[in-house]
């Protein structure tokens, strides 16, 4: 084994190629700055590597999830567990950490739901009496949301809602058949249903010749061969490479950020998985965007005499304030009115067709923050595993409760031609909604370095401590009541039984929302927050962070669009500071 030191000094080294790293690289490379991007996994170009339009029977497990947690065709490599790269828990926690180590990171599998946070979300302490206010306002970030909308593309409908700001929208896709029924039932509860907001090109993106409009296969999670949706690889990193200013080193697992005697970042130490050798590279500026928890891990592992408890951590806040969105409700139902429904191609887009923004803001409730409804329903490609699995699995249980076409009942279960016909009859009749809400950042929900455990590269691993609060659980109870009321109103047969306090009313494990943020938060007070309002480390002015870890406080809006806007803003700040010779 060798330690290989490169004499070259890069203008900027970016750790990570997901939404946060990709956007920073795109902006800097287009400004003529020489950038090296380190990615812990392999290179991935959706144009060549996507499994889009494969049939279930082209997988021996029919799309099942024995090797990929979201199913065989999902674009994301990695998952909840990665061989040789463990993480541990303390105090009975069960935080689930989804890692996707590949170009584009977790933008490879997400649902492309692209929501702006609202004015009240950035000032949540003031608005809701909950969490900490961000050091920035909606007005400050709004121009960056606009620029992200124009650069990447997002569909939606203009609604004028006070805390769900409109964007610059492409036309939204119309609902699928089952979704019409859910919409009616949700509306009947007094809840407004609007078009989804997703980064899928439902129309040509003005000024962009490299990406083509969606052809409606509904498979965004497989990544898109024509770049019709947003992945960091297709929309940011690959275009940045084409400028000639950005280079990607893939399979480079970062150990730590190196610092000099002056306390400033001087470079990065990494292991290259291809040749097994150890590398040290030098940089004038380092941007960390390795994902919320991995970025905290790298900082905490970057100890030196100047930074004894980890880099950028004089506040002792790195790793703390970890918070994932709440996820519950699970209003999944079979709609008998859709039995023997007409067949047509309703794949649609692989993002949201309909959703309901939080509708009870300002009402007196036993929890502080809100949640939104994500509505689904459709005739998906029959497969095994993945997001929806094989809906036929419920047929031999439900067919005993449903009158046959001739109105008579038969016992549940069965076999033969009559059962075969039941599968046909039920197909395409599942619809429902999921609920995703805001959890509040708390100092005592955190990740830290486990002093006893290293991964296969010898890098100390993360240990998680995460408990849902009574507020989160009260929100989950409300989610379940909403979902049940909707299922009842549409005459659906619920496929998930309501749960009680012993299982937190169906609240999913922390981490399962894959919206975790907050471990390297921005703040006004350097004694309490590692980063200033530009994403710049207070203790190390040539170190910036641009992934979800910078969030002071999440909202019920999915985080990606905010990560992109903040990363763009930080990259423009770096360009400005370089011009002023402050970096």
């Amino acid at each position: 084994m060798q330690l290989i030191k490169n004499a070259a000094v890069y203008d900027v080294v970016i750790i990570g190629s997901g939404a946060g790293g990709g956007m920073a690289g795109y902006v800097l490379a287009n400004a003529g700055i020489k950038v090296l991007m380190l990615e812990a996994g392999p290179f991935f170009d959706p144009a060549k590597d996507s499994q889009q339009l494969k049939w279930s029977y082209q997988s021996p497990r029919r799309g099942g999830n024995a090797t990929r947690p979201m199913g065989d065709f999902d674009a994301a490599f990695g998952g909840w567990q990665i061989d040789g790269e463990p993480y541990t828990q303390k105090d009975g926690s069960d935080f689930q950490w989804f890692r996707s180590r590949m170009l584009g990171g977790r933008t490879n599998h997400w649902a492309r739901i692209s929501l702006r946070m609202g004015p009240r979300d950035f000032k949540c302490r003031t608005a809701f009496g909950d969490g900490d206010d961000w050091p920035i306002t909606y007005e400050e970030i709004s121009p960056y949301y606009d620029k992200v909308d124009r650069l990447i593309g997002v569909y939606g409908s203009v609604e004028g809602l006070p805390n769900d700001p409109d964007g610059i929208f492409l036309p939204p896709p119309p609902p699928r058949l089952g979704e019409h029924f859910v919409k009616k039932a949700v509306t009947a509860q007094g809840i407004k249903v609007i078009a989804g907001r997703g980064s899928v090109l439902t129309a040509p993106l003005p000024g962009n010749k490299d990406r083509q409009p969606c052809f409606y296969c509904g498979q965004c999670n497989r990544s898109c061969k024509i770049y019709g949706d947003f992945s960091s690889s297709s929309c940011l990193v690959i275009p940045a490479i084409k400028t000639g200013n950005l280079t990607v080193t893939s399979n480079a697992v970062v150990r730590e950020i190196l610092t000099g005697d002056d306390g400033l970042a001087s470079g990065v130490s990494y292991i290259n998985k291809d040749d097994g050798q150890e590398y040290r590279i030098r940089a004038r500026t380092v941007i960390l965007a390795a994902s919320t928890c991995e970025s905290a891990r790298i900082l905490l592992n970057s100890r030196s005499t100047r930074h004894p408890n980890g880099l950028a951590n004089s506040s002792n806040a790195v790793g703390k304030y970890l918070h994932d969105s709440t996820q519950g409700g699970a209003g999944v139902a079979v709609l008998p009115q859709l039995f023997d429904r007409p067949r047509f191609n309703e794949d649609g887009v692989g993002s949201l067709h309909l959703y309901s923004p939080w509708w009870l803001d300002g009402k007196k409730l036993p929890f502080a923050r809100g949640y939104h409804l994500e509505i689904f329903g459709g005739m998906w490609m029959p497969g095994y595993g993945g997001y929806f699995g094989f809906e036929g699995a419920v047929v031999p249980y439900l067919n005993g409760y449903i009158p046959r076409r001739d109105g008579k009942m038969k016992p549940g279960g069965g076999f033969g031609a009559s059962l075969k016909d039941d599968y046909r009859r039920f197909y395409g009749s599942i619809a429902g909604l999921g609920c995703h809400g805001a959890s509040t950042a708390r100092e005592d929900n955190y990740c830290e370095i486990d002093p006893n455990v290293v991964d296969k590269y010898g890098i100390p691993v993360l240990r998680f401590r995460y408990k849902w609060s009574s507020d989160d659980i009260a929100q989950a109870k409300h989610m379940q009541e909403t979902a049940q009321a909707v299922v009842h109103a549409m005459g659906g047969i619920p496929l998930v039984q309501p749960q009680g306090p012993e299982t937190n009313y169906g609240l999913d494990k922390p981490g399962k929302g894959i919206h975790e943020v907050g471990t390297v938060r921005m703040g006004d007070d350097p004694k309490k927050a590692p980063l200033n309002k530009w994403g710049q480390a207070n203790d190390c002015k040539n170190l910036f962070v641009t992934d979800g870890s910078v969030f002071t406080q999440q909202s019920e809006k999915n985080p990606t669009w905010t990560i992109l806007a903040l990363s763009m803003r930080t990259a423009e700040f770096i360009i400005d500071q370089r011009k002023k010779r402050n970096l």
Binding site: K48, D49, S50, Q51, L53, K54, W55, Y57, Q58, P60, R61, R62, T67, F73, F77, P173, P174, R176, H180, F181, P204, Q212, P213, F215, Y216, C217, G218, K225, I226, P342, R343, F344, N345, E346, D347, G348, M379, W380, M381, P382, G383, Y384, F390, G392, A393, P396, G400, P411, G412, G413, G414, F415, G416, A417, L419, K420, D421, Y423, R424, Y427
Partner: protein, 204 residues
């Protein structure tokens, strides 16, 4: 760029991958993918390809078990006016693969098949595949309806429920089964919403 150009470009991009994938579709309905060793490598990681190959290269069920699975699968999903039978769609090969892929199915399947043979021997003095079609249906009828099954038959009911699920998954995710269900997607097009006549039918 307009939609037509977009679709044309898709064709160009996909020539090596999508069409390559199509070429490996099982054209006759007896070839299941488990029997087909040429899995399209696009987007697959090396360890996944190696694992798939290793699983396909060994057998879990012995010939008698496999024959019993085929007979049961065809009782669960027989040929009818719409499509062929489970075994014609390659279901026994799928079940052989999936129990190696998800080993939690192995013991319930092996033990359940043995339970079935013992029940047949006790009742008819023959194993399941040695029984007449009438005898097979009589046994299956005793374990196919959970709410009607006699208390002593619970082990058979549990086995049959799993067998029925695996059969249905294998059949309705095959080329034949997907066509039977009438799934129309997985093809480039333009989504303009539910057709007006359908909206009218449902009063939407």
């Amino acid at each position: 760029m307009n939609r037509r150009e977009s679709l044309k470009t898709l064709g160009a991009i996909s020539a090596g991958t999508i069409l390559g994938g199509c070429a490996s579709h099982p054209d006759n309905n007896t070839a299941g993918p488990a029997a087909n060793t040429t899995i399209d490598p696009t987007g697959r990681q090396d360890f996944e390809m190696a694992r798939d190959k290793e699983l396909a290269g060994r057998q879990y069920f012995d010939p008698h078990e496999k024959a019993t699975i085929a007979a049961l699968a065809d009782i669960i999903i027989p040929k009818d006016d719409h499509s062929g039978s489970a075994s014609e769609a390659g279901v026994p090969d799928f079940i052989e693969f999936i129990v190696k892929d998800e080993p939690q199915h192995q013991l319930p399947m092996r033990g359940g098949l043995r339970w079935l043979d013992m029940e047949c021997l006790d009742r008819f003095d023959k194993d399941f595949i040695g029984c007449t079609p009438q005898q097979q249906v009589a046994i299956v009828s005793d374990i196919a309806y959970p709410s009607l099954a006699k208390p002593g038959m619970q082990a058979g009911v549990t086995f049959f429920s799993k067998m029925r699920d695996l059969t249905a998954i294998g059949f309705f995710t095959s080329k034949m089964g997907i066509a039977d269900l009438g799934y129309k997607g997985n093809t480039p097009g333009k989504w303009e919403g539910v057709p007006p006549e359908v909206l009218k039918k449902y009063g939407l």
